[in-house]
C-alpha cells in the first residue's frame, strides 16, 4: 500500500486528483482520520489526507467569521476563537468516544460529516454555519462555493451540497465558518427519574418556550446514574440567565423536582452528550444515530424493543442514539422502525463486515438515488473521491 498523500497546498491536491484520474485509481480522503469508522468500508484506495492544509487563513472577530485550511484541527480553531469570546455555535461532535481512533478531528472532516451537537435545534447544524468552501472536484478543478458572508444566494448553493457529502464530491481544502459569541454562563436543569414519554413532553414544553433552551436531552438509567436524567440547558449573559432559569424551572416544575448544574459541571455533561459517550461502550456494539420528529421517539423506541441494547435522546427527542448488536437482523429492525417513524438513521459505528453488508446511510428513494448518482457524476465522473463511501457505486 503506497504511503498516504499529504498535500500542503491546493495545487498539490489538484495534482493528486489528476494523477489518480489518469491512473484510473481511487482516493480515500481523510482529515485527521478520526472518523475512519464512519461510512461504508473503504475500497482499495490511496489515502489523501488534508491535515497539512492547516493554517488559519483569516479570522475577523468583529464579523464573527473565520477561514481556515481543511486540515486545521477543531481544537486549534476553538482555542483561537475562545480568545475573543467566540465559539462554534453548532457544537461539532468529537469522535474519540465513539470510534476511539487516533487522529484529531479537522475542519474538513467536520464539514464533510455534518455532525452537530446538542445546540443544533437552536443554533443550526454544521451546514448552517458554513459560509464558504474551497474544494477540488473529481476532475481536478479548484472550485470556490459561497464566500465569507451569511447572506449569499449567488448561484446554486454548492456549499450545502458539499456539507455532509462525506468527501464524495470534492476534496475540501478550505472552509469559512460563522461563529457565535461564547455564552457567558450556562445552567442545566436536571429532572431525575422521568420516564421517556414524560421526558419528551417536558423537553417539548421547554423547546416551545421563549426561554431560549439550547440543549434538551434524556439519559437512560445506568448512564452515569441509576436513574434517568432529563437535561435542559439555558445559556446567556450572567445578568439575564438567573431570571430566565427561575421562570423556566417554574414552567417545568409540574414534571418533577428540578435541580441545577452550572459552570464546568454543566458543560462537561453536555460534552458527553455531544460525543455519544453514554453508548460508546461496549465497543463491539453497533451504534446508530437516528433523526425523527420528537413526538415519534417513543413509538420508535418501542418498535425497537429488545433490539435496542441502550439508547439516549438528544435534540428534545429529535435525535436518538441507539446501540444494538452488530448484526444484520438488528440492522433490519432498526431500518423498519425508522421507516415507520418517518425518520432516518445512520449506522455510525459497526465492524467493517456489517457496514459492507447493510446500508450505512438511509437508503434514498429510487429518484433520490438517481439524482445522487447524477450529482456525483457532475463533480466526480470517474469516481475518484471516496467512491462508495455513502452508497454503492456513488
Amino acid at each position: 500500500m503506497t504511503e498516504a498523500l499529504k498535500p500542503e497546498r491546493e495545487a498539490d491536491v489538484v495534482e493528486a486528483v489528476l494523477a489518480a484520474r489518469h491512473a484510473g485509481t481511487k482516493l480515500d480522503i481523510v482529515g485527521g482520520g478520526s472518523k475512519a469508522g464512519l461510512g461504508r468500508p473503504r475500497a482499495e484506495a490511496r489515502r489523501l489526507s488534508s491535515s497539512a492544509l492547516s493554517g488559519i487563513v483569516f479570522y475577523a472577530p468583529a464579523e464573527m467569521t473565520l477561514c481556515a485550511g481543511a486540515g486545521a484541527t477543531i481544537a486549534a480553531i476553538e482555542a483561537a476563537v475562545a480568545e475573543h469570546g467566540q465559539t462554534l455555535p453548532f457544537e461539532p461532535m468529537r469522535p474519540h468516544a465513539l470510534w476511539g481512533a487516533g487522529g484529531e478531528p479537522t475542519l474538513g472532516g467536520m464539514v464533510a460529516t455534518n455532525l452537530a451537537g446538542p445546540r443544533r435545534p437552536s443554533a443550526g447544524a454544521v451546514r448552517d454555519g458554513v459560509l464558504g468552501l474551497k474544494l477540488v472536484n473529481g476532475l481536478g478543478e479548484p472550485i470556490r462555493c459561497g464566500g465569507r458572508v451569511m447572506k449569499n444566494v449567488t448561484g446554486l448553493d454548492l456549499v450545502k451540497l458539499n456539507c455532509g457529502a462525506h468527501g464524495t464530491l470534492g476534496v475540501l481544502t478550505e472552509a469559512t465558518i460563522k461563529l457565535a459569541p461564547r455564552p457567558e454562563t450556562e445552567t442545566t436543569l436536571v429532572m431525575a427519574g422521568l420516564g421517556e414519554p414524560k421526558a419528551v413532553e417536558a423537553m417539548t414544553r421547554g423547546l416551545g418556550s421563549p426561554f431560549g433552551v439550547t440543549g434538551a436531552a434524556w439519559l437512560a438509567p445506568g448512564m452515569g446514574r441509576d436513574f434517568s436524567r432529563t437535561l435542559m440547558r439555558i445559556e446567556g449573559f450572567a445578568e439575564s440567565i438567573d431570571d430566565r432559569v427561575g421562570r423556566f424551572a417554574a414552567l417545568i416544575g409540574e414534571f418533577g423536582e428540578v435541580s441545577r448544574l452550572s459552570g464546568e459541571d454543566s458543560s462537561t455533561l453536555w460534552r458527553s452528550v455531544r460525543d455519544a459517550e453514554f453508548i460508546a461502550e461496549p465497543r463491539d456494539r453497533a451504534v446508530w444515530r437516528v433523526n425523527l420528529a420528537p413526538s415519534r421517539a417513543g413509538s420508535f423506541v418501542a418498535a425497537l424493543g429488545a433490539t435496542s441494547l441502550a439508547h439516549f435522546l438528544d435534540w428534545g427527542g429529535g435525535l436518538v442514539w441507539v446501540a444494538t448488536a452488530a448484526s444484520e437482523a438488528a440492522a433490519s429492525t432498526v431500518r423498519r422502525a425508522v421507516a415507520s417513524a418517518k425518520g432516518h438513521a445512520t449506522l455510525m459505528r459497526a465492524p467493517d463486515s456489517l457496514r459492507a453488508a447493510v446500508e450505512v446511510f438511509e437508503p434514498p428513494s429510487a429518484l433520490g438515488l438517481t439524482l445522487s448518482r447524477r450529482l456525483k457524476q457532475s463533480f466526480d465522473p470517474d469516481g475518484v473521491l471516496n467512491f462508495g463511501r455513502m452508497y454503492d457505486g456513488v
Binding site: 448552517d128 446554486l156 421563549p210 449573559f237 413526538s295 433520490g368
Partner: protein
C-alpha cells in the same frame, strides 16, 4: 430596447402555440389555464417592471399531481417553464418569455398541517410567508425569515430565492428554517426531500433546492420550522450624524458578542421616504439611523439595550428612542418594511441587493454614494446592517430610457464593488435576470460550469427558467 438580454426564442414552439394550449386545455379546467392575451399580460413581469415578456400561456394548478401532469406535458412539448409565486421578485426571477409557460402556484394556498409539539408547519407553496406566522401566532410561535414583502410573497418563492429578511440576523434565512419540500421535476416525478426530522439524509438536496431559483423543479409543498415567539421584542431607533459612526457602531455591537434580533440601517433620504408613509416617528434630521431590535424578558431587553446604548454612545449617537408599545413597534417596522414601495411615491428605482463583510460597510456606503453620483443619480440606502446585506435604492425615471440604462450600470458597478470587497452579488433577492451577466465577476468559468452540471442533473436541457442565473453566452437573442 432593453439592457438585459433574453435567450433567443424557440420559434417552433411559438408557431405551435395553439396546439400546446389545446393540449393544456385538455388536462386543466378553464379557471386553471389562461390563454387570452389580456390575461397573460398580467403575468408578463414581476417587481422588475422594466422588463416585460408575454408568456405562451399561464397555468394555475391546484395540486401537486396537476403540476406533475403539466410539467410532463411541457417536457414532451419541449416548452420552457417559468415557475412563479406571487411575482414579487426584485431581480426578475418570475419574468417569462414568449416560448415559455408560466406555472404559478397561487391557487395552492392551504396550510396543511401545524404541529406545535414537533415545531413545524406543512404548507402548500402558494401560502404567503406572513400567513404562516399568523396561523401560529396565537399559540406562541412564528416562522422566522421575514422578507419585507412577506405580506404578499409565497413560501415557494422564498424557497426558490432562499429569501432573508430583517430578522435573519438571529434566526437565519429560509434554508436554515426549512425541514422539507415536495419537488416536482420536469419529468413530472415527485420527490419528497427531508421531512419532519432535522437534517435530511444523504446529499443536501434540500440545501441545493433552496435558492435554486426554480431551475431544478417546482416546489409544491414545504415543511418549515416554527420558533417560539420571544417574551417580548422591542426596536430602538438610534440616530447618527455620520454614516461612519452608524456603520462602525454596527461592527462594534457584533464584536461585543451581542446578537440583536435585527439591525437595520437607513440613510437620511430613506428615512424621509419611509416616515412619509408610516409616520413612525423616525428622526428626520440625522444622516443615518439604526433600528436595533432586542428580544427576551423585560429585564433581559433592558440589560441588552443598556449594553447597546453604551456602544452607541461611544460612537457619537445623537438620538435614541425606544419603542414603548406594541403599536409603536409595529409602526417602526411597517416603515422599514415598506421602504421599497414607499420609494415609489418619490421616484422610480431599482433596488440593489449586494452583501459586503460588515467590517467593510463604511467603505461600501461611501463608494456606493460615489458611484451613483458619478452617474448623476440619487440613492437611498436601506439595509440589513447586521449581516452586511445592502439595498441601495437607485432613483431614476423609468420613462427615460437613458436614465434607466445609467441606473442599471450604476447598480452593476455597486455589485461589482461588493464582490471586490469580499462580499457577493446578491444577499437575498437572487440572481434572476438582473445579475445574470455579472456572475463571472464572482465565479470562474470552471466554477460556473460546475454549477451548470449540477443543474443539468435535474434539467439536462435547461428548460426550467432558462433566462435566469447563468450568463446567456451564445444563447442570447
Amino acid at each position: 430596447m432593453s439592457h438585459i438580454a433574453f435567450p433567443r426564442l424557440d420559434e417552433t414552439i411559438i408557431a405551435r402555440r395553439a396546439a400546446i394550449v389545446g393540449r393544456l386545455a385538455a388536462i386543466l379546467p378553464p379557471e386553471c389555464l389562461i390563454a387570452d392575451e389580456s390575461g397573460r399580460r398580467a403575468f408578463e413581469t414581476d417587481a422588475l417592471t422594466a422588463y416585460r415578456r408575454l408568456p405562451l400561456a399561464v397555468v394555475l394548478p391546484r395540486s401537486t399531481e396537476e403540476v406533475a401532469r403539466v410539467l410532463r406535458l411541457c417536457r414532451d412539448e419541449m416548452v420552457n417553464v417559468v415557475p412563479r409565486g406571487a411575482g414579487t421578485s426584485l431581480s426578475g426571477g418570475a419574468i417569462p418569455q414568449e416560448d415559455a409557460v408560466v406555472i404559478t402556484l397561487t391557487k395552492m394556498s392551504r396550510i396543511l398541517e401545524v404541529n406545535l409539539a414537533d415545531r413545524y408547519a406543512r404548507v402548500e407553496a402558494g401560502v404567503t410567508n406572513l400567513a404562516i406566522s399568523e396561523a401560529v401566532g396565537a399559540e406562541g410561535f412564528f416562522y422566522a425569515p421575514d422578507p419585507s414583502s412577506q405580506l404578499a410573497c409565497t413560501i415557494g418563492g422564498n424557497i426558490g430565492m432562499n429569501s432573508g429578511g430583517a430578522h435573519c440576523l438571529k434566526y437565519g434565512v429560509t434554508t436554515n428554517n426549512l425541514l422539507g419540500v415536495r419537488l416536482v421535476t420536469l419529468d413530472g416525478e415527485i420527490l419528497d426531500i427531508g421531512g419532519e426530522a432535522m437534517d435530511a439524509p444523504g446529499y443536501d438536496l434540500l440545501g441545493l433546492v433552496c435558492g435554486s431559483e426554480g431551475q431544478l423543479g417546482i416546489v409544491t409543498e414545504a415543511i418549515v420550522r416554527l420558533i417560539p415567539l420571544p417574551e417580548g421584542a422591542r426596536p430602538v431607533l438610534f440616530g447618527f450624524d455620520t454614516v461612519e459612526d452608524a456603520s462602525q457602531c454596527v461592527a462594534a455591537i457584533i464584536g461585543a458578542g451581542i446578537v440583536p434580533v435585527a439591525m437595520e440601517y437607513m440613510d437620511k433620504l430613506a428615512i424621509r421616504i419611509c416616515e412619509d408613509f408610516a409616520h413612525a416617528g423616525y428622526p428626520l434630521d440625522v444622516e443615518a439611523m439604526l433600528i436595533i431590535e432586542v428580544e427576551g424578558s423585560d429585564a433581559e431587553m433592558g440589560a441588552m439595550l443598556a449594553r447597546i446604548g453604551a456602544i452607541a454612545k461611544a460612537h457619537n449617537v445623537r438620538t435614541a428612542r425606544e419603542s414603548m408599545s406594541a403599536m409603536e413597534s409595529a409602526q417602526i417596522w411597517k416603515g422599514r418594511k415598506s421602504a421599497f414601495g414607499a420609494t415609489g411615491r418619490v421616484a422610480d428605482y431599482i433596488c440593489m441587493d449586494g452583501t459586503v463583510p460588515t467590517g467593510r460597510l463604511p467603505e461600501a456606503l461611501q463608494r456606493t454614494g460615489e458611484i451613483c453620483a458619478s452617474f448623476g443619480l440619487r440613492v437611498a440606502n436601506v439595509f440589513h446592517a447586521g449581516d452586511g446585506n445592502m439595498h441601495p435604492l437607485i432613483l431614476y425615471n423609468i420613462n427615460d430610457e437613458a436614465e434607466r440604462v445609467k441606473a442599471e450600470e450604476a447598480g452593476a458597478a455597486v455589485l461589482e464593488m461588493c464582490v471586490e470587497l469580499g462580499g457577493c452579488l446578491t444577499g437575498e433577492h437572487g440572481v434572476g435576470v438582473e445579475k445574470r451577466e455579472l456572475m463571472p465577476r464572482q465565479f470562474s468559468d470552471v466554477e460556473l460550469k460546475q454549477q451548470k452540471r449540477v443543474r443539468a442533473a435535474f434539467d439536462p436541457d435547461g428548460r426550467l427558467n432558462p433566462a435566469k442565473v447563468f450568463p446567456l453566452g451564445e444563447r442570447a437573442a
